[in-house]
């Protein structure tokens, strides 16, 4: 079908929410590099942060084909209000319980979203979704292995994880804030929509959490933390962006 202006806006919004999420979370997770709980995990976590940033780059490249600015400009030169990322990804890394639960919530979302996009009518997006399938599969394996072992571990450790699972449920649901273009996206075969994504995600993570021995959040009563997709962010995002661009701003005309 012929894309109208609204279809393109919807596609751009979809691409921005995906790429901004990946960029910001990749940045956050990169902060663990050299500081992880054990050398081996440090290496694994750093790889996944690199993967996320690499994936965001691929998505910004599609945006560039749609007429947006080049990736380095888009990623490093916008203010917080222009970011479509959800609030969960912008929070500081905190302790490892938070970082792991965020990783578990986010990466399952990413895996399901990419899976839904493997047959999208937007060919370059279809290619990206297929290209990164292996990377994302490892990310969810990594997250599941950690959640499983902590679920079966000491009472103290399990309690910390359980707390993080429940406390961050609302932030996680914020990932699925509806777009203004849900109808256009689904009718055109671009993307089946946030609602469908959310249902599959809830089913997946609930089943996993339960099998790992954790209490599952009561999703119906959890209040989603929205706003991020519409450019409203926590106080943590702008400082992160300022930090990201500190070197760039020394000499904006330069090639780094």
């Amino acid at each position: 079908m012929e894309f109208t202006e609204k279809h393109v806006l919807g596609l751009k919004d979809l691409l921005y929410r995906m790429s901004d999420d990946l960029l910001i979370l990749g940045h956050r997770n990169s902060e663990w590099t050299g500081l992880g709980p054990i050398l081996e995990e440090d290496i694994a976590f750093s790889s996944m942060a690199q993967d996320k940033i690499g994936q965001s780059l691929a998505l910004y490249q599609i945006l560039q084909e749609l007429g947006e600015n080049e990736p380095d400009v888009v990623a490093f030169m916008r203010n917080a209000e222009a970011f479509h990322s959800c609030k969960m990804v912008e929070l500081p890394i905190g302790e490892y319980d938070f970082s792991l639960v965020r990783h578990f919530y986010f990466d399952h979302q990413s895996a399901i979203r990419m899976d839904m996009l493997k047959d999208t009518v937007v060919e370059p997006l279809q290619m990206v979704a297929r290209k990164f399938r292996g990377e994302i599969k490892y990310h969810t394996m990594h997250a599941d292995t950690w959640m499983k072992i902590l679920g079966a571990g000491s009472a103290k450790g399990k309690e910390r994880m359980q707390k993080a699972i429940l406390e961050n449920a609302g932030l996680a649901l914020g990932m699925f804030e509806l777009s203004d273009y849900e109808v256009e996206l689904s009718e055109s075969g671009i993307f089946a929509g946030e609602q469908a994504l959310k249902s599959t995600w809830i089913e997946t993570v609930s089943q996993k959490l339960e099998s790992f021995g954790f209490n599952v959040p009561d999703w119906d009563t959890v209040t989603p933390v929205y706003g991020g997709r519409k450019g409203e962010h926590t106080a943590d995002l702008q400082p992160l962006l300022d930090e990201m661009t500190e070197v760039f701003r020394i000499d904006p005309a330069a090639e780094w």
Binding site: E31, I43, E95, M244
Partner: protein, 329 residues
């Protein structure tokens, strides 16, 4: 990233092998002389084991602490290309630490004991990492020249006599060549860039030159100790030789970019074929390596924090029936 082992010549030299079985010692030395490798459960002189543990452990510490000065710029690396490459590089340093600790473990010291000696200040690491990476350009200079120095040393050590160390170094050297290329690329962009960028990289180079000259350590004393370690292929080249190799390979490349080095005496002596330079300040080197450098305190505190933050995670998943044995090789 590692310069050269810092050996204190404190032993009474005739005591190095005094208590060893002469027959076994002769066999051991013959094996090394024949170019054969020593493996973990082989008989080895106590001094060989001690010096190897010390050296590999220092090397591992240097990797893990070496990830910090460059890590300073991880969240601020400009643009996708630099960001991804810097993350991959710092990740490699952590990976190298993992490989090296494992190699040292085969000699009978646990990773926990080595890390404890690091954070308690009982064990050394490359002195250069006690200096700060003040600007983005510092991280570029480190990635290029410190890694270049490390490669000179590591290539030499990869021909050493201890199997597990040699195997770890083979993998490490392959990865370091990416670091060197990345670092060079980064410096070239700055040096051929805007006036501001050139200024940044020149300043960083000027700052890092004294630590770089310190990197390979002071001239070795011609002691029996050094001679024995060379014969055992623990130490693979004199500190001065390594420094000369480094200068030979990299000073021309630095000058090629129109950058200057803060040593008026630095030049290749046509007669000797060697580089003349102003003797580095070895008092400063000793002061810093013994704890009184600009970043020593921070580096160790950060390492302590990393271990402490990870404690609950590790304890939560440690299985009670776990049994430690040293890795195989």
């Amino acid at each position: 990233m590692y310069g050269n082992t810092y050996i204190e010549n404190s032993e009474k030299q005739n005591k190095l092998t005094a208590n060893e079985d002469p027959k076994k010692l002769a066999e051991f030395e013959a094996r090394i002389a024949a170019g054969d490798k020593i493996e973990p459960h082989d008989w080895m002189p106590a001094e060989y084991r001690k010096q190897l543990v010390r050296m590999i452990e220092q090397h591992a510490h240097s990797e893990i602490i070496g990830s910090l000065p460059e890590g300073t710029w991880i969240t601020r690396a400009p643009g996708f290309r630099r960001k991804l490459a810097l993350m991959a590089k710092v990740q490699d340093e952590v990976g190298h630490a993992q490989l090296l600790y494992s190699a040292a473990e085969t000699l009978g010291k646990s990773r926990e004991d080595m890390l404890n000696d690091l954070i308690k200040g009982n064990s050394k690491y490359s002195n250069v990492f006690n200096y700060p990476a003040l600007t983005w350009a510092d991280s570029a200079v480190i990635a290029w020249l410190i890694d270049a120095g490390a490669i000179v040393n590591q290539l030499a050590n990869s021909k050493g006599s201890y199997g597990p160390y040699v195997r770890a170094l083979e993998r490490i050297c392959a990865e370091e060549s990416f670091h060197l290329k990345y670092g060079h690329d980064n410096v070239v962009f700055l040096a051929t860039g805007t006036p501001k960028q050139r200024e940044m990289v020149q300043e960083a180079l000027t700052r890092w030159w004294p630590p770089i000259m310190h990197f390979f350590g002071p001239s070795d004393k011609l002691s029996v100790h050094t001679e024995v370690l060379m014969r055992w292929k623990v130490k693979m080249g004199s500190n001065d030789d390594m420094r000369q190799t480094f200068l030979d390979m990299y000073v021309p490349k630095i000058w090629d970019l129109g950058l200057t080095l803060p040593d008026p005496n630095l030049k290749k002596n046509e007669e000797t074929g060697k580089w003349d330079y102003t003797e580095p300040d070895w008092d400063e080197f000793k002061r810093v390596i013994n704890g009184d450098g600009p970043c020593n305190k921070e580096r160790l505190a950060v390492r302590r924090m990393a271990e402490e933050k990870g404690r609950w995670v590790r304890q939560a998943i440690l299985k009670k029936d776990s049994q430690y044995v040293a890795p195989l090789s």
